[in-house]
Each structure stands twice: as structure tokens, then as C-alpha cells.
């Protein structure tokens, strides 16, 4: 299970199995989507499989994730998402009404994100060989001229910005899956981010890095960027927006909000000189009202993410091994 958690084990699978098997320079960029040139146009191309349990949770469903996830992977290259595919793997016995609900959610999410689902596929596996419904989406988008967004472009002096409160999606899913109640309902933050990215690019096309911190959370995304660019990241712990409900749930379970999954957030590295302007543009967009400057990219400790604690100490924030595990007490 750990190999799907977005941490060290996932990275190893990529490094040791997939990259050697189909290695090429585009794949080696390890961005959320591949950017490909075709007859002068630059296309972003991405695919992802969605296996969330339960299929429906506060704030969204498997269908929303399957659309927003791929839309966001395209947006993280600065692309304007255009078309999606949708492939279903259904477990024998799953109710048609469930499939219908998911499909409708996908239709609505696609409309909201401004993309069209233009092709698809359906397979059925025997009962006991699946979790009800799995969905794989692939997407294509167009990268505007002059935009070059990839993890390798982070550089010392960049401001590190997150688009809003973190941890809501992971805690929302956990609360339903494990039957945990935290006193307040926590809804997933799943949302399409292409519009927010367009608003940021309108301010400055020189956005260096974008990443949506899904599995592995903010910590995994920042570590991947630090390693890909060979720079360091310094976060200010108190500047990271963690909703009270997430902080309480994480405290209760012994989890770190920095490692909890998000679905409707992005982290951006932009030139320090453009930070205030980009922040203002983000805050003016519905998906970025809670945007915050959380740290900066530094030349010290290359490849590492370090947090300044609220008390004035420092600590390393590493890539998680696999999934976080709730502790005993």
C-alpha cells in the first residue's frame, strides 16, 4: 500500500521500475503532466487513476476527484485543460445507480472546469476483485506561449505560496472511511485549479513551479521540488494555513498536516519580486481566497525542506515513507 502513498516508496517505484522501462527526457522531468510540442503548439498530457474509498465523501466523490485531479495535473504545467478521457473499472455487483451518480458528478465537474470528456472505456472485473468503481482519466491541455512551469525551475529567492488551507481532503476522507467524528464536519477541498492558474499567469507568465499537493501532502510536493531543482525550501510553520478542525484531527491521530492529502490546493514558486502581486491575484480568485506566503526557496540545504517552528527552532520535513499511520496514544 505504501507504494501508492505518494512518499519515498512511490518515488522508488518510479525510479527503479517505470523510469528504466520507458525512460525518456519528457518523463524524466517528473512533472504532474508531460509537456509535448506538436506542430508549434505545446500540449500538456496527463493521466491518473482514482481508487478512493468511500466513493462519496463530504465535499465530493470519486467522480469529482477523477475530473479535478487530472484537470489540476494539466494546470500545474500552466496549461488550459481542454479534453479528458474516462475509463471505468467496475466490480461485478456494483449498483448502476452508484455508477450513474459518479458519471453525473464527472459531467458536472467537467463543466465547472471547462473541459469536455470526449472518449472512454468500461471494463468489469469479478466480484471481490475491485473496490466497487475505479476511474482512470487522461487529459490534454494547451500550454500558452512563454509559459515554462516545471519543478526544475525553482531557484533561491522564489517565494513559496500555497493557495489555501491544507489537509481538508485527507481528513474528510479519513473521517468517513474510518468512522471518526471530530466534532465538526470537514469537507474535501476538491476543486479545479486551472482558472486560478490562469489568473496567476495573467499577473506574471514567469511562474517557476506549480504543484498540487495531493497524496503525500504539502511535504511531499515541496521535497520533490527541492530535489528536482537542487535548491532548499524554508517554510515558516506559523504561516502555513491549517484549519482548526484539521489541526485537531491530526493532533488526535498523531498525523502531521503537512503530509495530509489535498485535492483543491496548489503550491507555487514565483519570483520573490512578483510574490505580492501574485498573492493578490490569487486572493481575488474563488479558489485562492485563503492563499498565503509560507516560505521561500533558498540556496542553503539543497534538496531539503526545513521548517522554522513557531518557537524559533528548526526541523527537517522529509518525504514521507509511505502513508502516515495513526499512533497509539
Amino acid at each position: 500500500m505504501g507504494h501508492g502513498g505518494g512518499g519515498v516508496l512511490s518515488a522508488e517505484l518510479m525510479e527503479h521500475v517505470f523510469a528504466p522501462a520507458y525512460g525518456n527526457p519528457t518523463l524524466a522531468a517528473l512533472a504532474d503532466s508531460a509537456v509535448l510540442e506538436l506542430d508549434g503548439a505545446r500540449l500538456a498530457f496527463s493521466t491518473d487513476s482514482y481508487v478512493v474509498r468511500p466513493l462519496f465523501f463530504p465535499g465530493g466523490s470519486l467522480g469529482d476527484l477523477a475530473v479535478n485531479g487530472t484537470v489540476n495535473d494539466l494546470a500545474m504545467s500552466g496549461a488550459r485543460p481542454a479534453w479528458l478521457s474516462a475509463a471505468f473499472v467496475l466490480e461485478e455487483g456494483v449498483r448502476l445507480t452508484v455508477v450513474e451518480r459518479i458519471a453525473r458528478a464527472m459531467g458536472a465537474a467537467a463543466e465547472a472546469a471547462g473541459v469536455t470528456i470526449v472518449t472512454g472505456d468500461t471494463k468489469v472485473v469479478e466480484a471481490g476483485h475491485g473496490d466497487g468503481v475505479y476511474v482512470t482519466t487522461a487529459g490534454i491541455g494547451l500550454v500558452p506561449a512563454g509559459v515554462d512551469i516545471r519543478p526544475q525551475r525553482a531557484r533561491p529567492g522564489d517565494a513559496v505560496i500555497v493557495s489555501g488551507p491544507i489537509g481538508l481532503h485527507g481528513v474528510a476522507v479519513m473521517s468517513v472511511r474510518e468512522g471518526l467524528e471530530f466534532g465538526v464536519e470537514i469537507a474535501s477541498d476538491t476543486a479545479p485549479l486551472a482558472g486560478l492558474v490562469a489568473a496567476m499567469l495573467a499577473v506574471t507568465p514567469d511562474v517557476h513551479v506549480l504543484r498540487d499537493p495531493t497524496r503525500g501532502g504539502l511535504a511531499a510536493s515541496l521535497n520533490e521540488i527541492a530535489r528536482a531543482s537542487g535548491t532548499g525550501v524554508r517554510l515558516r510553520e506559523r504561516a502555513v494555513p491549517v484549519p482548526d478542525a484539521v489541526a485537531n484531527a491530526c493532533g488526535f491521530l498523531g498525523l502531521d498536516p503537512l503530509f495530509v492529502a489535498n485535492e483543491g490546493r496548489l503550491v507555487a514558486f514565483v519570483p520573490g519580486s512578483a510574490a505580492e502581486e501574485v498573492l493578490a491575484a490569487m486572493r481575488a480568485h474563488p479558489q485562492g481566497t485563503g492563499a498565503a506566503l509560507i516560505g521561500e526557496c533558498v540556496a542553503e540545504h539543497p534538496g531539503m525542506v526545513v521548517v522554522s517552528t513557531g518557537l524559533g527552532g528548526t526541523r527537517v520535513v522529509d518525504l514521507p515513507l509511505g502513508e502516515q499511520l495513526p499512533r497509539i496514544c
Binding site: G2, L13, A247, G312, G313, D318, P326, I328, C329
Partner: protein
């Protein structure tokens, strides 16, 4: 969240740190007993902010770390059985047994489940009458009442398919063992607040008196810990050795009588092995004769398993505060969270894990944690 933020206030922390600096006229070595405190200290960088005279020694209070290898192997043996649903708290799953861990057993087809309460395991037993449901009942005085409650409820409900693999340990005998060690350097203790919230403080005055050490009951937020240190240092400077409660919002002198009654009804005191430390008299609990039917060790006849720790692992010395994790030759090289030699490297409360996770600015690079192709284990 206001309630938590109040205990994480930088201005108040600065004031406490200044007071500690002004009070300490010479070096003092304090042990924080609980692994939760250790992680809070390292996570917030408290040890970096303290004056040089104050050394914090990390204690044995991580229940995952001290669960003996024999018991882990018993758990692995039971969890591998096709008729068993094996339930555990999440942080036991990566703890290495002799040749594998519970994650590996799960990957090999064992029905291993993470639960958040022993009562969840009890519910699983009720819903699966044709399966044996076993709960891994480890921990200090904090988890003992709920685990006792699970056995109590199982008997009340007449469940015959539920049992506990018990490895409970108690804090006061561990303090005694640390203080009687000839190489002990500990001059005062930050006692674990949540343990005292269950058991009260009645067992501590005798320890403070016998060993001449201050014992300050301390919570887990940064200001709790700084206040605990401040009070312990003040006592040491004055030549005092008393029990003080710096966690009054959670701890009463008489503890939680209902929880203690539940423990007494179900458990009896016994000698226990502590991983890396050895046998400590009267340092644990086991099910009483009346509850023996719910003892997984007996039900699955795994009491005969005996094991040996890897010689390279110095987690026992870490747990007794004799060395810092970074003083172990294997730290960060052959021993990482990916390839742990001992439980202190994988437990979320383990001192080695805390140093590895938060303190490698000058140590091995993060890539040290990455496996080579040969080390990858797709099953785990």
C-alpha cells in the same frame, strides 16, 4: 484551536526560556519519560532553544519501542493465521519482528487491520463470529483502561472469538530501573502527563524521595514542556526533590478512579521484558486468571517464541538515555525508517525516528532513506 495555540505562544516560550536560563547556574540532566514529549521537543526545536546547561535525555516512554521482539513475533505468527483478523494501532505495523513486520504479513494475505480503539476490534468480533479477532494490546497506563474495557465487554457479551495479545508496561518501575542503573545520569524527570491523568501521582513521591530527584508531571505542548523544565530546574537549584503537577488541566492527584478500577478488574501486575532494556520486575500487566480466556498468547499457544535482537542495534541504550540516537553507528546508515534495526526508528514516538525525521541538517542526506532496486519490496 485557541486552546492549543495558547500553549505554543512564542512570547510566553521566550519568557520561560529566559527564566530557565536565569535559574540554571550549572549543568542539569533531565529525562522526559514519554516519547510523545520527545517528539514535541524535537519537532518544535525546544532542545535547540534551551541554555547549554540543560540536557534533555530521552526516556523509555514509547510503548511501540519497548514492546519486546518476542511479542512482535507472536503477533506476526497469530496475524498470519487464515482464521484470524488481527487488529492493531497503526504505528505497530512497521515495527520489525525477527524477519518481517505486520505490513509484510498483510501484503502476504494476512487480515491485518488498523483500528483506532480496542472497542473497534470488539465490534469486528461481534460482526465476524466465524473468525478469531485479536487485538494487539500494548501501551502504558494510558491505553490500559480501554484495553481492559474491551476484555470486560467481551466477557459481558459472551464473545468467544475475541482475545487480546497483551504487552502492557508501567512507568514507575521503569523510572526505578533507570535510577538504579550504575551509569544513570538523570537528575530529574518530566513525568508523562497522560499516564498521570489515568493513574494520578500517588506512586511518584516515594520515587522522588528514594532517588532524590524532582518529578514534574508535564504535558505535551511546547509551553507545557518548558514549564516542566522550569519547575524541575528550580527544584534542582534549590536542592529539592518533590512531585509537582505542571499539567493540572488534565491531571488530578488521584487520577481517574473509574479507569483504575477497570484496570484492576482485568489486569494484574507482572514482570515484563522491555525491548532493548530487558526484564523489569513488576513493570507490566497481564490478564488475570478470570480473563485468561481472552489472552491470545494462550489461545494461540505462542508463548514459547524466543528471539534475539540484532547486535548492531543500540536502541536499548537510547531508551535508557545512555546515548543519543546519533551516537549509534547504525543511525541513518544501516538503520533508517526504511530499514529499521529497532523499533525506536519506526515508532512515531521513537527517539531515533524523531532525530531521523527532524534533525538531519548535518547528517546523512535524505537519499539515505531511499532503497536500491535490490532492497525494494513491492509486497510491503
Amino acid at each position: 484551536m485557541k486552546y492549543i495555540d495558547e500553549f505554543n505562544d512564542p512570547a510566553l516560550a521566550r519568557r520561560l526560556l529566559d527564566e530557565i536560563s536565569a535559574t540554571a547556574t550549572r549543568p542539569w540532566a533531565l529525562m522526559e519519560v514519554c516519547g510523545g514529549q520527545t517528539h514535541s521537543i524535537i519537532r518544535h526545536g525546544i532542545d535547540q532553544l534551551l541554555p547549554e546547561q540543560i540536557e534533555l535525555i530521552h526516556g523509555p516512554g514509547c510503548p511501540v519501542c519497548v514492546t519486546p521482539l518476542d511479542v512482535i513475533d507472536q503477533a506476526l505468527e497469530i496475524a498470519s493465521r487464515p482464521d484470524v483478523i488481527f487488529c492493531s494501532f497503526g504505528d505497530m505495523l512497521r515495527v520489525p519482528g525477527s524477519d518481517r513486520d505486520l505490513f509484510r504479513v498483510k501484503g502476504e494475505g494476512g487480515d491485518v487491520r488498523v483500528v483506532y480503539s480496542p472497542l473497534d476490534a470488539l465490534e469486528l468480533a461481534r460482526k465476524n463470529p466465524d473468525r478469531q479477532v485479536v487485538f494487539f494490546a500494548i501501551g502504558f497506563e494510558t491505553t490500559a483502561p480501554a484495553n481492559a474495557m474491551a476484555a470486560h465487554q467481551a466477557r459481558r457479551l459472551g464473545l468467544t472469538n475475541f482475545s487480546l495479545l497483551v504487552s502492557h508496561v508501567r512507568v514507575p518501575p521503569a523510572i526505578e530501573a533507570i535510577m538504579t542503573s550504575p551509569v544513570c545520569r538523570v537528575q530529574g524527570f518530566l513525568a508523562a502527563g497522560h499516564v498521570c491523568s489515568v493513574m494520578g501521582t500517588a506512586e511518584y513521591p516515594a520515587l522522588a524521595e528514594r532517588f532524590g530527584v524532582p518529578l514534574v508531571v508535564t504535558g505535551f505542548e511546547p509551553l507545557d514542556i518548558l514549564e516542566g523544565i522550569r519547575r524541575a530546574v528550580r527544584q534542582l537549584e534549590r536542592g529539592e526533590h518533590r512531585v509537582e503537577n505542571a499539567y493540572a488541566r488534565a491531571v488530578r492527584e488521584d487520577g481517574n478512579p473509574a479507569a483504575m478500577r477497570m484496570i484492576e478488574e482485568v489486569f494484574e501486575v507482572t514482570d515484563r521484558n522491555w525491548r532493548g532494556i530487558g526484564r523489569i520486575p513488576s513493570s507490566g500487566w497481564r490478564l488475570t486468571e478470570a480473563f485468561r480466556a481472552y489472552d491470545a498468547e494462550h489461545r494461540f499457544d505462542v508463548g514459547g517464541i524466543r528471539t534475539e535482537e540484532p547486535a548492531e542495534c543500540r536502541s536499548g541504550e537510547v531508551l535508557q538515555g545512555l546515548i543519543k540516537p546519533t551516537e549509534c553507528g547504525a543511525f541513518g546508515t544501516t538503520c533508517t525508517p526504511r530499514t529499521p534495526l529497532g523499533a525506536t526508528m519506526v515508532s512515531s514516538e521513537g527517539a531515533c525516528a524523531a532525530y531521523y525525521l527532524y534533525r538531519r541538517m548535518n547528517g546523512p542526506t535524505p537519499q539515505a532513506a531511499r532503497a536500491t532496486r535490490e532492497e525494494m519490496n513491492p509486497v510491503a
